[in-house]
């Protein structure tokens, strides 16, 4: 047994191994984590070796399944260490602990880049490996050219180049634009000449990915691929170390799945590696849609496979037969193996049973439906729960699609209900009722069958329903049979009734029926009509088949076959259950227009952004109407008139900031019809305290407004939902999807909003901690036949919980010094800043609720601001901000943020950064009119392209 080489680590692992139970283990882990945490806090005494040891320990603890929620910084910072051992640990543990979305990764992009372009080969390898394993989009943008250079460099060793190839593949997956097709097809062709098989293997993965995206661009590489294959498969010209159990690099052959065009040797070797190649060859045959002769040879081969005992081969035989069914007409040949396939349906291995079920489903037609469906029903008796739903759905579909006669169909469905009633949806039994009603011959048979089932002691609810219906309508056809008098029928159904759940409250239900029967009894002669038999149903498309079509997508996870046929793609594991495909949402629903009129319209300017930005604004400050319908805003916009102007100090500082008044967004209906393609457009007023939102769905129009009051970490909001139509909104639902840092409580929302009415829904918000995430309002309703659903971001953003505070130098400097602790005070050089004069930055800060404190910093290019942040966890916490600008280069500045909480520091820093960088292009759109100096650029968001973003932008 070899030890780790780090004594402390080995001791810790031994300790963990010696724990007798989970509880002891947890205690030991907690103790270690506490120790590491203290050591990291006081970093001075920490040697590089110790740091390295602690970071490995953290990874070990993390692998054991414990949360390690600190130390990420320390781990990431090891990447920048000067020596190899620490750097190595930094890189490896970072790629295990963090994922590509982690913000800490951004901090090391530069270090990583320096390692990649530097001279040290070992560092290059470490950097390429980490980026290849967890690099995200940002890495993609900044590193791709450097990685490409390494890949084609003639001076790099293979060990670097193969890593560069796969690293580039990762970057390409994150952002396909990083590989420029024009330049790369020739490069790829050269790379395929590579003699080192390690590099060639890696290059081939990259190549396959590029080709699958754009095959035409890489035609020039085809001859080379064929040559590589020939070299390996025919000439066996390959270094000994790359043969695997005598087969020349099977993986490289498998990789060439698209191009594999040479002879298929159908010699069944017992070896998996050669089988792997063989199945690729089969895939190729299918892909090429080869002639029938070849196909039947393949099926014959697969037929042998599904009869062998080796489970993997049997599985693959079944799977590949299913695949073949999708591409060619080999049903008849496959049918010869039906008995064998049915045997596999009884295999103890669920993987094999699933493949067999898929295959049986795929090969079923009128000639074998009876046999196959009956097998499925048989299997239903023993199938485990996980497969029952799929099984019963498939049986029902096959029975309906291929039923040789209708009585058989009725039999099958009744058996299905009996065996797996929970999985038989209402659609299925409705369909039975329709068939029976429309076919007189079937009626006595169906009624008799229903009567038989009622004799069983325990019945599924669905069975009671379908029997009651059938006997209710056709019971009289059985009148002469024993046990079938009306009275007996009634008694037996009545017996079963308690097992049926009522869909609504029973008393009301009974009252309702009582009233209905009473009314019926007074109809006199018309009563005969009411009690007559049901007329025939009009021919309709089978709801079941329709559902199955939808379900093709929904149940994809159950059926590998479907996935294959759809070439379903995904880069990540689908972690949650797949949500059902929502087929009913009309595509035309979107928030079409956002306009923000305000009552102090005379003293403001309107800037409109449209795709080609239009010259807009006005000298006199009167709003410019880009849309001719703006005039109908004032009349619909009742709230604007009740809003006291005093609530809106015209100070520019408040422009972004406060939403003391209701918020709403408005778009006149006509605009949509005239400009259906113009998805979104803003018409923005700087004093954006009031606006209206209208959701347009062709004919209906709904207003959503918002009013908010903030106090410390509490917010009290009122949502207004206004229905401007002459018809009611039904099934109204409003949900708040709160990010984890907010606690929200929305009062109940009425199900219906009457015509021309407005409802107000109070919403309470509590801020738990600092975060830039935004709460989303998920609002839906039915209007007429259409379901409308929109998601809007709520203006509950970080600065709502900030309160500007003015500090004197005596108060400020001790605080500033006291926060000189890693993570509590964070400094960053921000690039790409919109160049602004310092006073404008100051007013931007004011609008973010950061109080600028003049005189604290003697340097005129610097600016210091203070604010108090409120949340439940931090309570009132002082935040200090300093920026240092460079008069030579206004596009960059140094930002320092300090507070008593590291998360708050980080979030606030990012929040400020967003505003410094993401300052919209006011200058571009507004003319240099000096009349409007109070217009703070940050007040006007750029053209966002989603409605939610826009709402947030208003704030």
């Amino acid at each position: 047994m070899a030890l780790s080489g780090m004594r402390g680590l080995s001791v810790f692992i031994s300790d963990i191994r010696n724990c007798h139970n989970k509880e002891q283990e947890r205690l030991r882990v907690d103790k270690e984590l506490g120790n590491i945490r203290t050591r990291f806090k006081n970093e001075k005494g920490l040697s590089p070796y110790e740091k390295k040891k602690y970071v490995w320990k953290m990874l070990y603890i993390y692998m054991l399944g414990y949360d390690v929620d600190f130390g990420h910084m320390e781990t990431v910072s090891l990447i920048s260490a000067p020596k190899y051992p620490e750097k190595q640990v930094g890189y490896i543990v970072t790629s295990c602990l963090l994922n590509e979305n982690n913000d800490f990764l951004r901090m090391v992009i530069n270090t990583v880049r320096n390692d990649i372009i530097g001279r040290n080969e070992t560092y290059q390898c470490l950097a390429l490996t980490m980026v290849g394993n967890i690099g995200g989009k940002e890495f993609s943008e900044s590193l791709a050219p450097d990685v490409q250079k390494l890949l084609i460099s003639s001076s790099c060793r293979p060990v670097v180049r193969k890593k560069a190839a796969l690293c580039l593949l990762r970057l390409y997956r994150k952002n396909p634009d990083v590989v420029n097709i024009d330049g790369w097809s020739d490069r790829m062709a050269q790379l395929l000449d590579e003699r080192d098989l390690g590099v060639l293997t890696s290059v081939m993965s990259l190549f396959v990915s590029l080709v699958s995206n754009n095959a035409e661009a890489y035609w020039n590489c085809l001859p080379k691929c064929v040559r590589i294959l020939e070299r390996m498969a025919r000439n066996q010209d390959i270094p000994q170390e790359y043969t695997y159990y005598g087969i020349p690099s099977p993986w490289l052959q498998v990789l060439q799945r698209i191009l594999m065009g040479t002879d298929v040797v159908k010699n069944v070797n017992k070896n998996n590696a050669s089988h792997a190649v063989l199945f690729e060859a089969l895939a190729l045959v299918m892909h090429l849609d080869a002639e029938k002769e070849m196909m039947s040879q393949c099926v014959a081969l697969l037929g042998k496979f599904i009869a062998v005992r080796e489970p993997n081969i049997r599985y693959l035989g079944l799977e590949n037969m299913s695949r073949m069914l999708l591409v060619t007409d080999v049903q008849d040949i496959i049918k010869r193996h039906q008995a064998q396939i049915i045997t596999s349906l009884k295999d103890p291995d669920i993987s094999i049973r699933r493949r067999a079920l898929d295959l049986l489903y795929g090969m079923c037609d009128v000639t074998n439906a009876k046999e196959i469906v009956e097998e499925l029903l048989q299997y239903l008796n023993t199938a485990e729960f996980a497969m029952r739903e799929e099984l019963s759905l498939k049986a029902a579909i096959l029975a309906e699609k291929f039923a040789p006669d209708l009585s058989w169909y009725v039999d099958v469905i009744l058996q299905l209900i009996d065996k797996a009633g929970d999985f038989v949806s209402d659609d299925i039994w409705y369909r039975v009722v329709q068939f029976v009603t429309n076919n007189e011959d079937l009626q006595p048979y169906a009624a008799a069958k229903a009567r038989e089932y009622l004799d069983k002691p325990a019945l599924h609810e669905t069975m009671v329903k379908v029997s009651a219906y059938l006997l209710g309508e056709y019971g009289h056809l059985l009148a002469r049979r024993p046990g079938c008098s009306p009275k007996e029928l009634f008694a037996i159904i009545n017996d079963k009734l308690p097992t049926v759940s009522y869909e609504s409250y029973i008393d009301v239900e009974i009252q309702q029926r009582a009233v209905e029967y009473f009314e019926l009894s007074r109809k006199g002669a018309a009563l005969a009509d009411v009690l007559a038999e049901m007329p025939k149903f009009p021919e309709r498309e089978s709801a079941l088949l329709k559902k199955a079509e939808d379900a093709e997508v929904d149940t994809a996870e159950q059926s590998a076959i479907k996935l294959r046929s759809q070439q379903q793609t995904s880069s990540a594991i689908v972690v949650a259950d797949q949500p059902p495909v929502n087929g009913s949402v009309p595509a035309s629903n979107h928030l079409t227009l956002v306009k923000m009129p305000s009552q102090n319209i005379t003293e403001e300017s309107n800037v409109t952004y449209e795709e080609p930005p239009v010259e807009i604004p006005k000298e006199n400050g009167a709003p410019v109407e880009v849309e001719s319908k703006v005039e109908n805003i004032p009349e619909t916009n009742i709230e604007s008139k009740v809003e006291p102007p005093a609530a809106h100090p015209a100070s520019q500082a408040d422009l972004l900031a406060d939403l003391l008044g209701p918020l709403a967004i408005e778009g006149p209906p006509a605009a949509v019809e005239q400009n259906p393609v113009q998805g979104l457009e803003t018409n923005q007023s700087p004093v954006g305290d009031l606006a209206l939102a209208t959701l347009e769905d062709q004919s209906n129009s709904v207003q959503i407004g918002l009013k908010a009051e903030w106090r410390a970490h509490h917010g009290r909001l009122v949502l207004f939902l206004g229905n401007k139509n002459t018809a009611p909104l039904l099934s109204v639902q409003a949900l708040i999807l709160p990010p984890s840092h907010l606690k929200t409580e929305l009062s109940s929302v009425p199900d219906t909003v009457p015509p021309r009415a407005q409802v107000q829904i109070p919403l309470e918000v509590v801020n738990l901690r600092a975060s830039r995430d935004v709460a989303v309002l998920d609002f839906s309703y039915t209007f007429g036949t259409s379901l409308v659903n929109v998601k809007l971001r709520l203006p509950v953003v970080l600065n709502k919980f900030l309160q500007p505070i003015t500090l004197s130098p005596e108060e400020f400097f001790p605080q500033w010094k006291a926060l000189n602790v890693q993570n509590l005070k964070v400094q960053e050089v921000v690039k790409g800043v919109k160049p602004l004069p310092l006073p404008e930055i100051a007013s931007l800060f004011m609008s973010l609720h950061l109080a600028v404190a003049p005189g604290l910093d003697n340097n005129l290019n610097n600016l210091v601001a203070c604010t108090t942040f409120f949340s439940e966890t931090t309570r009132a916490m002082l935040c200090l901000v300093r920026i240092e600008t460079d008069p030579q280069d206004r596009t960059q500045l140094r930002l320092t943020v300090a507070s008593g909480d590291q998360y708050l520091t980080f979030e606030l820093k990012e929040y400020i950064k967003e505003h410094l960088i993401d300052i919209p292009r006011v200058q571009a759109a507004s003319p240099p009119v000096p009349v409007q100096p109070q217009l703070p650029p940050a007040a006007v968001p750029a053209t966002y392209n989603d409605p939610g973003a826009m709402l947030a932008g208003l704030l």
Binding site: M1, S4, G5, I13, W56, L59, Y62, M63, L64, P85, Q88, I92, C96, N99, T122, L128, T129, G132, N133, I134, G136, K162, L166, R170, R173, L197, G198, T201, S202, S205, V208, S209, S212, E241, Y242, Y244, S249, W251, V254, A273, A276, F279, P311, N312, R314, D349, S351, A556, E557, L563, R564, Q566, Q567, Q568, T569, S570, S571, A572, I573, V575
Partner: protein, 151 residues
């Protein structure tokens, strides 16, 4: 045709777990949150641990499939795409085990426990970005020798 960029060949994650479900190595090539990783590890373990040795080495997992192989008390599992070549990955696992065996000369679970950091290093030489990087045992063992000298 659908965008197939992501469908080709990518390994989503690799797990090395013992029969009790203790994770000895976990490498994710797709971004997952911690809680989700722990859930995946728990589910995959449950999925493979009770399967009869006579069963196939493939089992469906959510919308993917897991190719696994058991060596003594250790399960090596790879999560790959539904359309991927099962046998190729099955042998990939075996090659990895051969490399470990060579490196530790007669590998046992304890080697992997106490030298988990080495196992990560070897894996990084073998698979990168969810793709095979090097299939020569010799090349990898030599590379590990180079790296050990640097420490």
């Amino acid at each position: 045709m659908a965008d197939t960029r992501e469908t080709f060949q990518q390994i989503r994650f690799i797990l090395l777990q013992n029969r009790q479900g203790k994770t000895r190595l976990a490498k994710y090539y797709v971004p997952l949150e911690d809680s989700e990783k722990h859930k995946v590890e728990y589910e995959v373990h449950r999925l493979v641990v009770n399967r009869d040795p006579k069963f196939t080495n493939f089992v469906e997992f959510r919308t993917h499939k897991v190719i696994y192989r058991r060596y003594a008390g250790l399960f090596f599992s790879m999560c790959v795409d539904i359309t991927d070549n099962e046998l190729a990955y099955l042998e990939c696992i075996h090659l990895f085990v051969e490399i470990l065996d060579h490196f530790f000369s007669n590998v046992c679970e304890l080697d992997l426990v106490f030298n988990f950091h080495k196992v990560y290093l070897i894996l990084d030489e073998f698979i990168l970005a969810g793709e095979l990087q090097e299939t020569s045992k010799r090349a990898i063992i030599e590379r590990m020798g180079e790296l050990e000298k640097l420490e």
